[in-house]
């Protein structure tokens, strides 16, 4: 059987790539895609733990399904905001969203 840690390392890699995407992308949609990678990494963790730690209880899978559902809702709201921002500013570049002085 594949060791648990292999899955966890792959998830860690996926998570780190997602973090990289979140921190480097200039486009709001790009940032959101990075977040989706991070969420997938989490889900991979959850499912791996389910399989190896509590295969007889559905906790991990339930958690993963909830995460997926919420991610979809979140993405819908986020993308609506992206579109609204694009309408008012003609840009969704995070660095150019500077009406608010910081």
């Amino acid at each position: 059987m594949i060791p648990l840690s292999w899955y966890l390392v792959v998830a860690a890699a996926l998570f780190s790539i997602g973090v990289y995407g979140v921190l480097t992308r200039r486009n709001a949609v790009g940032v959101l895609m990075g977040v989706e990678l991070m969420l997938n990494a989490v889900n991979l963790n959850l499912v791996a733990f389910w399989r190896y730690v509590t295969p007889t209880k559905m906790t991990g899978q339930v958690f993963a399904i909830i995460v997926i559902t919420v991610a979809a809702a979140e993405a819908a709201v986020g993308l609506a905001l992206v579109i609204a921002a694009y309408r008012t500013r003609r840009t969704v570049n995070v660095e150019e969203l500077d009406t608010l002085k910081g």
């Binding site: 200039r26 499912v47 899978q61």
Partner: protein, 163 residues
């Protein structure tokens, strides 16, 4: 052994497309790479014997979220034509940070003595999931459905063209 080989291939596929996603110059390519990477994750779920979840993953992540993102990209496509770089100037620094984060996390997850045991999953995972959602997890299930409704209303209010 074969299983491990498959795992390595699937992981390489997943991570490769993930890397492509964060480095692609075109946001559109990025989105496609993301969808591919999500497919890889679904394959990993199958390896973990969570077939139902793999199905959900493909339906929602690949089917819904990726498509949603591609729509958003196309609706705001004015932003894609610019010749400016798609990543900010700190990317080499962030790359170092992300690499060290990975090192740290990888070290951590392989060092911790997770209480793994070698039991087999229950007979019918779909039935078990169904029971879980009406049993102990009924509250999260209900909350999630309210959340979906609210998110839908909110997304409509915000994305609607006319006031």
């Amino acid at each position: 052994m074969l299983l491990r080989l498959i795992f390595v291939v699937v992981s390489a596929f997943t991570l490769g497309f993930a890397l492509l996603m964060v480095t692609a110059r075109s946001l559109f390519h990025s989105a496609l790479a993301m969808a591919a990477s999500f497919l890889g994750v679904a394959a990993l779920y199958i390896l973990l014997e969570a077939e139902f979840l793999a199905g959900v993953q493909i339906l929602i992540y690949v089917g819904a979220i990726a498509i949603l993102i591609i729509f958003a990209i196309m609706l705001s496509r004015g932003t894609m034509r610019t010749a400016e770089p798609v990543v900010n100037k700190q990317w080499p620094f962030v790359a170092v940070v992300a690499l060290s984060l990975f090192g740290l996390l990888a070290f951590l997850v392989s060092q911790v003595a997770w209480p793994a045991r070698s039991a087999e999953p229950m007979g019918d995972p779909i039935a078990a999931l169904g029971k879980a959602f009406v049993g102990p997890y009924v509250v999260p299930f209900e909350v999630a459905s309210v959340l979906l409704v609210v998110a839908m209303i909110g997304a409509i209010i915000i994305a609607r063209e006319k006031e």
